[in-house]
Symmetry: C2
Subunit: 253 residues, 2 copies
DNA sequence: TCCGTATATTACCCATGGGTAATAAATAGT
DNA sequence: ACTATTTATTACCCATGGGTAATATACGGA
């Protein structure tokens, strides 16, 4: 009725009777795009590799040219999301400002990530579906993200931009609220991902900020923490090749 | 042993039947306690009914004396958690106070629920594992919970205890943060569930409250929103019998 | 004591879906 | 064009685990 039609899936490099000569990495990424969408849509266990393949106009065994197995696909989806978060943290840390400034900056970007597929995969996939090695990698990455939030809060307390509080619990509270976005946000809604992100950034930090800015009431200052680039989900492929962890590049023969 | 029968005498031919039924319900609940723990520990799909049975020193088919199938067990676990939340909401709504008072009261109780198994089941189980009918029930219940948060916020804005804000987004932010507790809290940690709950209640409401109470700094006023009873996870059995929804009482023969 | 019911067990069925082997088709290099 | 390599397909294996049928056992009631 839908996915099997030759007219849907216009972005599949395997369109029948189409030139099948495309870079291997593009196909890999196409698999991941399809897989992450399906995993989110149906849940990892209900989603089958047959269905992933079907949506790409190929058959299941073809997937094994690019991945060792289902759990590796899951991990790679997660890894892409993780790289996006890492970029957020790196850029936020690189930029200046008070602890509160950084916290807000990270909050906005992280929130917006949670409204997109790869971001959602960070919070909706289950660690226990991964291999032991990959599970360790993910756990460490989660800790790094948590530390970023805590560090910014601690820094804010130190520089006086944030009220004294327990950084650990405050980070949990903020990150929890943001992570939950990945569970309820759906693109078709009334607010865009960007809008939700900016709203949340204000709401979640106003409680602990020392200066109670009324940024929300009118838009005289949109803030400098949200206008820069956020629009390159592509050209990330090269960066991934330098990823920190063992991520097999397809089946090694 | 309880109040299920006024006469513990042999002149009541109902006593044996009653005690039998009670024994049955106790076994039912034992299954649910074991199942919810296992589902949380391993995830619904990895957890097997064989393992549930094994932990109860019985075998898998014995479970089918009490439940129609795995997904019904999942639903019943969820239903118990939902009743606990319903009690929170009912009591909070019954009690007086400003919108902010009620919001805080609900926040404390809800947070503490999230630190226990049945509470966690509300946010960690996947709707899509349920039958269509049960899924509808759960969805409606989730909406009711969301509405409670929104109503209290709206009420608080109306009575001046809460700053003007979007009730919908604020409710999402608060509930999200609370729900996330169900994902990270583990009993063995440094803080008790109660302690986490009270911390969160303060942190999550201080941002939108008009009066910035410093409840956290010293304990001159512990607040009336946290001392009353919260300690009856038992004797809930009878209340469940009057539950709002089709919940089969074991296999009907 | 004997019957009927509730409850448990053993032994099975079988749909599902991840994964693999053998092989065919396309592509690149010479 | 011939060959090696990559990439896809068809046809299959099989472990897993939910669910069921047949049956045994415990127990209350007469």
């Amino acid at each position: 009725m839908d996915a099997s039609s030759p007219f849907s899936n216009q972005d599949s490099p395997w369109l029948p009777f189409e030139s099948r000569r495309r870079a291997r990495d593009e196909k890999r990424e196409a698999v991941l795009r399809t897989a992450v969408a399906l995993f989110l849509e149906q849940g990892y266990h209900r989603a089958t590799l047959n269905e992933v393949a079907k949506r790409l106009n190929i058959t299941k065994p073809a997937l094994y040219n690019y991945f060792r197995g289902k759990d590796e696909i899951l991990f790679e989806c997660w890894a892409i999301g993780n790289e996006l978060v890492d970029e957020c943290i790196a850029e936020t840390s690189a930029g200046g400002g008070t602890g509160l400034d950084k916290l807000r900056k990270l909050t906005v970007r992280y929130a917006e990530l949670m409204t997109a597929d790869y971001g959602k995969s960070l919070v909706r996939f289950d660690l226990r579906d991964l291999s032991d090695d990959n599970r360790k990698i993910v756990r460490n990455a989660k800790r790094r993200i948590d530390r970023a939030f805590r560090d910014y809060i601690a820094q804010g307390i130190a520089d006086g931009s944030i009220k004294p509080c327990d950084p650990k619990l405050s980070a949990f509270a903020i990150a929890g609220s943001l992570n939950w976005i990945g569970h309820w946000f759906q693109p078709g809604g009334a607010m865009s991902g960007r809008a939700v992100a900016e709203e949340f950034a204000i709401r979640l930090t106003e409680g602990i900020a020392t200066t109670s800015k009324k940024k929300a009431d009118k838009p005289p200052r949109t803030g400098n923490a949200s206008r820069e680039e956020t629009r390159e989900h592509h050209t990330r492929t090269a960066a991934r090749a330098a990823g920190q962890s063992k991520r097999a590049r397809g089946r090694l023969r």
